[in-house]
């Protein structure tokens, strides 16, 4: 009953600006707050709210928080702040420091529960009518999160006055949420339910689910319908979110596997040291960032842009070195290559461990990589988004190199028929070294990307090597499109299994599925056909 009365009063005060007190009276009104008569105090609060003066917010907030004091000597009202000794008194309107008084020299203005409710309504209408659109938006949102039946009318007024489309929608939703808790008639409530159902989201869902059992039939039915439609929408969003997570994981797998698609897919070299090339790329990023931190902290935003080409060069030249010293003696002996490159991987790992130590290294995210964007019910972090973009760009560039450059032409020629290519004047051993270098270099670039989302430690490469092989084998050896499709489908399959099976079991299931798949199609999704297969 009191709430209704209050709402009525707020309506009266807000709705009839002619009656509204002159903002110039605010100092006088504030002095009137010092009273024991709660009915009078309520009247004053409402009058203050009606001024619409933004300065009043602090005063009413202080009153509601129990921070509004009066000075005993002259009964003037101040906002008090706890100080080391006694209280600091602040001017209620400007917030300026006035003086420090002893604890007994100023007293709190007491309020009761009904006052608190009145204050909430008054504050709501003050902020809802604030000239600052940000304040209005926040007020509407906070009312939506914690709806208040007393604010329905205030919201109605604010909606009528609101010019900003987005804020008005927010206010309407807040009003709908508040109506649900009030004792308005069924028709109003059903309209409110529909507007909430249109908004969707988890908050609306919990509001609709929170409708008390005492609700009448039609309201209940409308609420159930609303819940259903929101849940359907949420299920759709969660599917979308899973697909996004899947693509994100897929892009990580793609990054790790593209280089392998060159060394294993195109050259047929089982490079077990591939993971270490990724690791070297990540450590290059670390070194670049360390140098920038120590010498030119302002350049930090560009650290990744500097690290990408450097990582390509570092891993690429290590790759060429490995090819020239080990792998070239082992062409045609795939199993031996596997063992030798495994040995190389152990050496590189231990080398990095000896130089940088066995612990994780701190690699920072530049500003454009941190933060997240909210799309409906989906959260997308910027670092994952950039990695998706980066993986696709690298794949596209690699395809261009293979299809459109002389080096790419020579690589394909050597892959298809080594002796014929040699007879045509291609220096096959040089092409071998460059191809291996290219694959390793791309692995290094992947390392830069992975350093942003994973721990940079000597074991970094180990955790990706099996996944990378799975992607390449699943997608089909010697086919970059296959690698893309393989990486994305493995990523998505993994993320869709996770909610049902948990992360580890999902991974196991995917591994088992690949093992079974290879039985069915030993050459992967997109198998090369023809003589090349026979070797």
């Amino acid at each position: 009953m009191i709430a209704r009365l209050l709402a009525l009063m707020i309506t009266l005060c807000c709705g009839l600006p002619a009656l509204a007190a002159d903002p110039d009276d605010l100092p006088g009104l504030i002095e009137q707050l010092h009273t024991r008569d709660y009915a009078a105090m309520e009247q004053t609060v409402n009058t203050i709210a009606a001024t619409g003066d933004p300065r009043a917010v602090a005063v009413l907030q202080a009153l509601s928080d129990g921070d509004l004091y009066y000075r005993k000597s002259d009964d003037k009202v101040f906002i008090a702040r706890k100080a080391d000794s006694g209280n600091d008194l602040l001017d209620p309107l400007t917030g300026a420091f006035v003086e420090n008084v002893g604890r007994r020299d100023a007293r709190k203005i007491g309020i009761n529960n009904s006052m608190r409710r009145a204050l909430r309504g008054a504050l709501g209408s003050l902020t809802l009518l604030s000239p600052d659109p940000k304040v209005r938006a926040t007020a509407a949102q906070s009312l939506f999160k914690s709806p208040d039946p007393g604010a329905v009318e205030a919201l109605g007024l604010a909606i009528a006055a609101e010019k900003d489309e987005a804020i008005r929608t927010a206010m309407e939703e807040a009003q709908a949420a508040s109506v649900l808790l009030s004792d308005s008639d069924d028709a109003t409530k059903i309209t409110a339910i529909q507007s909430l159902a249109d908004r969707g989201g988890r908050d609306a869902l919990s509001l609709l689910k929170g409708i008390p059992d005492t609700a009448t039939g039609p309201v209940k039915a409308a609420a159930a319908e609303g819940v259903e439609s929101i849940e359907a929408a949420l299920a759709l969003w969660s599917t979308a979110q899973n697909i996004y997570y899947g693509i994100s994981l897929g892009s990580v797998l793609l990054m790790a596997a593209i280089g392998l698609a060159i060394t294993f897919g195109v050259m047929g070299v089982i490079n077990m040291a591939h993971g270490e090339m990724v690791m070297l790329g990540a450590y290059t990023t670390y070194v670049v960032q360390e140098i920038i931190r120590n010498n030119a902290p302002g350049m930090f935003e560009f650290s990744l842009a500097i690290a990408v080409p450097l990582a390509f060069l570092v891993s690429g030249s290590v790759g060429v070195l490995i090819e020239r010293t080990v792998i070239r003696y082992l062409y045609g002996r795939a199993l031996e290559t596997l063992l030798a490159t495994w040995g190389v991987s152990l050496i590189i790992q231990q080398l990095v461990r000896s130089i940088f130590g066995p612990t994780n290294k701190e690699v920072g995210n530049p500003d454009f990589m941190s933060g997240a964007v909210q799309l409906g019910e989906m959260t997308m972090t910027y670092n994952r988004l950039w990695i998706i973009v980066f993986a696709l760009v690298v794949l596209a560039m690699l395809m261009l190199v293979l299809k459109r450059t002389p080096l790419g032409l020579q690589m394909r020629a050597v892959t298809q028929n080594r002796r014929m290519a040699g007879a045509m004047g291609i220096r096959t051993d040089r092409v071998d070294a460059l191809t291996f270098g290219l694959g390793s270099g791309i692995a290094g670039m992947a390392g830069v990307a992975l350093s942003q989302i994973d721990n940079v430690s000597p074991n970094l490469g180990q955790s990706y090597i099996i996944d990378s092989f799975m992607v390449v084998v699943f997608g089909g050896v010697g086919n970059l499109w296959g690698t893309l499709v393989g990486a994305l489908s493995l990523g998505i399959a993994n993320k869709f299994l996770e909610p049902y099976a948990g992360a580890v079991l999902a991974k196991i299931l995917v591994l088992v599925a690949i093992i079974l798949f290879i039985q069915k199609r030993p050459r992967g999704l997109f198998a090369l056909k023809g003589r090349a297969v026979e070797s």
């Binding site: 089982i270 077990m272 080990v326 003696y329 082992l330 795939a334 199993l335 031996e336 290559t337 596997l338 063992l339 030798a340 495994w342 040995g343 190389v344 991987s345 152990l346 050496i347 790992q349 231990q350 080398l351 461990r353 000896s354 180990q462 099996i466 092989f469 799975m470 084998v473 580890v504 079991l505 991974k507 196991i508 591994l511 088992v512 690949i514 093992i515 079974l516 290879i518 039985q519 069915k520 030993p522």
Partner: protein
């Protein structure tokens, strides 16, 4: 059948078995008879260490059987080894009874800790040794049979097979790391007390386990010898050298491969089972792909395609590992990595192949040099 047995006991086999048991006997005597502190006394840790090496040697033998003779490079044999080890570990856990920290007569400690109310179904029967002993052979064998059945029938060969065996052991590792698998999660099974009633901390039990390992290794050696020297073994070798041709000659290649792969997995399981009581723990890290690849290098160092080469390789590399990880821990991975590269580049048939040129046919590099040199001498003499 008699022919098969006789073939196993050829001169090389007898020499191998003689050396093996001679050394084991000496070690056992010096541990049990010589008083502690005597210069000829072998400390118990040495007995267990040699026992561990022997189980590794059996594992290497099983890898050599499929890689050296059939050309199947398994990078997942550690999985069969670990499964055998887990079967033994489960028996040993059940033997603890109510002597555990929580004193539960039925449930092992980790299950009490993880709030299990009763024993998972697959733990039943492991309180009986004969059952555990069957499982030690049966579980790895069954996994290998199913895996091989799919893989060999669809003609997954070469590196593809290597990669999926690696994926298999990786998947098993992830699975065994899970706490709710009921295998002790990441701590594995440990704190064993006794085996068949013998206290595992006792010197006598240790020596007994050493003998058991030597027996298993000897038996495995004889089986491999018998298999590879039989007609069946000739087909296996033919598959290694020219799989398609063997198939075209009418042999069911997939069945031969499946049989030898399963046999090899059973041997690996036995090796694992003997390994566990000697080191006192089994945990999921035994499944790591790196372990399985390491086994391959033991075989490669010793010389694949020669059975005693695999044994020598396993013992040598592991001795080097024990020494280096103790004395110069930084160096070990460099040495192991270097070994992989060096052996594949310069000793494709391992130490044994380099020394005497036997093994998978053809003379060794050293013997070739010697023959060339002789031929040159002969030419000089004639002219």
């Amino acid at each position: 059948m008699r022919g098969l047995v006789f073939r196993a006991f050829d001169r090389g086999g007898m020499i191998f078995l003689g050396i093996l048991f001679g050394l084991i006997l000496l070690l056992a005597l010096s541990n049990l008879i010589m008083p502690v502190g005597h210069p000829l006394h072998a400390p118990t840790y040495l007995v267990s260490l040699i026992g561990k090496y022997l189980t590794y040697a059996l594992l290497a033998l099983s890898v050599d059987l499929i890689w050296g003779f059939c050309g199947i490079l398994s990078l997942g044999h550690g999985a069969f080894f670990a499964l055998g080890g887990y079967a033994m570990g489960m028996y040993l856990m059940r033997q603890i009874g109510d002597r555990g920290v929580y004193g539960n007569p039925e449930l092992p400690d980790f299950m009490v800790f993880l709030n299990y109310s009763e024993l998972p179904w697959y733990w039943h029967g492991f309180d009986m040794f004969w059952f555990a002993a069957i499982m030690i052979v049966f579980v790895p064998g069954l996994l290998a049979f199913i895996f091989g059945w799919f893989a060999f029938r669809s003609r997954v060969t070469g590196v593809y097979l290597s990669i999926i065996t690696q994926a298999m052991t990786y998947a098993l590792m992830l699975a065994f790391f899970r706490n709710n698998m009921g295998f002790g999660g990441n701590n594995g099974l440990t704190d064993f007390k006794d085996l068949l009633g013998f206290d595992l901390q006792n010197d006598g039990t240790r020596v007994g386990l050493l003998f058991a390992s030597a027996m298993a290794l000897g038996l495995g050696f004889l089986i491999c010898k018998a298999v590879t020297r039989s007609k069946y073994g000739k087909v296996i070798t033919a598959i290694r050298d020219a799989e398609s041709r063997t198939r075209f000659l009418g042999y069911r290649v997939d069945r031969y491969k499946l049989a030898v792969f399963t046999l090899s997995a059973c041997m690996a399981g036995v090796a694992g089972a003997l390994y566990v009581p000697q080191v006192g723990i089994i945990n999921p890290s035994e499944f790591t792909p790196a372990n399985s690849i390491e086994v391959v290098i033991w075989v490669a160092v010793g010389g694949r395609g020669t059975l005693y080469g695999a044994v020598i390789g396993a013992i040598l590399v592991n001795y080097a590992k024990t020494y280096l990880t103790g004395a110069l821990p930084e160096i070990w991975l460099f040495a192991l990595g270097g070994l992989f590269v060096f052996v594949t580049l310069f000793l494709p048939r391992g130490i044994v192949g380099a020394v005497n040129g036997s093994g998978d046919g053809g003379p060794s590099p050293i013997m070739t040099k010697v023959r060339d040199w002789r031929a040159a001498r002969a030419m000089e003499g004639r002219s």
